[in-house]
Symmetry: C2
Subunit: 237 residues, 2 copies
């Protein structure tokens, strides 16, 4: 594993990797590596955010939790993005939560420094806004998918979005956790996952899911996945 590919290297984050040398040079002294475990909460609903996090090899879910305890995922972030868009969008906090879905590393930067660099209006500014637009598309498509598609297809979408952000074919994730993300019941996930396993698309066993036929998943998924993927590609994030 070379230096660039090492997960602690900030350039494993695709936004940081795209920065011009000058801007990266200005930021890099202020980037601090952090490690996240499964289930860590990066920010709470309405909670103060001190840092922006550029993910390098972890995955974070943006979740909204209802008053009655039910929850649903609105977006998923990997090394293509950041956690803490509210810091540069100007709202400071968000009404959702950010929770670590796959353990790994990130680099963080103090909110104030982020805002100062953002104000300079360089490529950093453009990259963050383009990423945010892509995230908006992902959230939008989640809304549409939640309305119009079956749990099984949504599970496919979720698996593919997660797989895109992983370096391996194995997800450490129970049916119960997926149910919280999808805003559905554990049994519903068990049934849907069982069908995907019977179809030879995935294997799972006690909290470990292995993607064994990605092409098959892409055939089983609804169009929502490709819409989001195309938009991320188009925006180069």
């Amino acid at each position: 594993m070379n230096a660039l590919a090492h997960p602690q290297n900030p350039c494993c984050n695709r936004l940081l990797a795209r920065l011009p040398v000058e801007e990266y040079g200005r930021l890099s002294p202020h980037l601090e590596p952090v490690r996240f475990d499964l289930g860590d909460i990066i920010y709470q609903s309405g909670g103060h955010i001190d840092y922006i996090y550029f993910l390098t090899d972890c995955i974070v879910s943006l979740l909204y939790t209802m008053e009655n305890g039910m929850s649903a995922e609105i977006g998923i972030v990997g090394n293509e993005g950041v956690i803490g868009i509210a810091l540069f969008m100007g709202g400071d906090t968000m009404p959702n939560r950010a929770i670590v879905q796959s353990a790994g590393t990130a680099v963080r930067m103090k909110a104030r420094l982020l805002q100062d660099e953002f104000k300079r209006g360089g490529e950093f500014h453009h990259l963050l806004l383009r990423y945010t637009q892509a995230l908006v598309t992902q959230i939008s498509q989640t809304a549409v998918c939640n309305r119009l598609h079956s749990v099984e297809r949504q599970l496919c979408r979720w698996l593919l979005l997660s797989h895109d952000r992983l370096q391996t074919d194995e997800l450490i994730m129970t049916h119960d956790m997926i149910a919280n993300m999808l805003g559905t019941r554990r049994e519903g996930v068990t049934v849907a996952a069982g069908k995907l396993q019977d179809a030879g698309l995935i294997n799972y066993y006690r909290g470990r899911i292995t993607i064994i036929n990605r092409a098959g998943l892409e055939e089983a998924v609804c169009e929502c996945y490709q819409v989001v993927k195309d938009e991320f590609d188009r925006l180069h994030v």
Copy 2:
């Protein structure tokens, strides 16, 4: 009706109204009034956008239409916002459509001029980004609501969001149109609307819906409505 309240006045748009005198002075010569009719399409999925539109007294829905023709609304915009966030977010286009839900007026500005002013980084920049963050919350909450709440509650949410953006208690809107927004069937809307009418919250007749008990609607709606409203209030948009 005084000059300020006249819908052709750009200051009927709450973003423009908040601009400092200097910035507003720079923009106002380039603001051009436009009128929209019900059903007008401001932009198509992936379509080029020439102007940003500051809505003054119309309402616009952001809709995504599936390959099979089904559609679902991801957000709703009135005089608190703009149509065309992709122009300053940097993506130029969006994969959804913007369609006029309530006829009225807006003022528009050429994309290039918008981008130039946005780059200056003044209050205009801050306002547009704060508004975009509020819109993200609205889209997020639509995703959650689509997953977890009944059609009847979602109809309440939709009516309240629309009512907030109207100057009257009457919506010109058939059950069929609402069904397209909510991503559900016309019959489902008829049943849900019938219950709300029986409960004395609304009246409707052949494409005209009248809100007659707003407080009652606010009791019947799910928490999603208030989450979005609170976030718009917090962000002063």
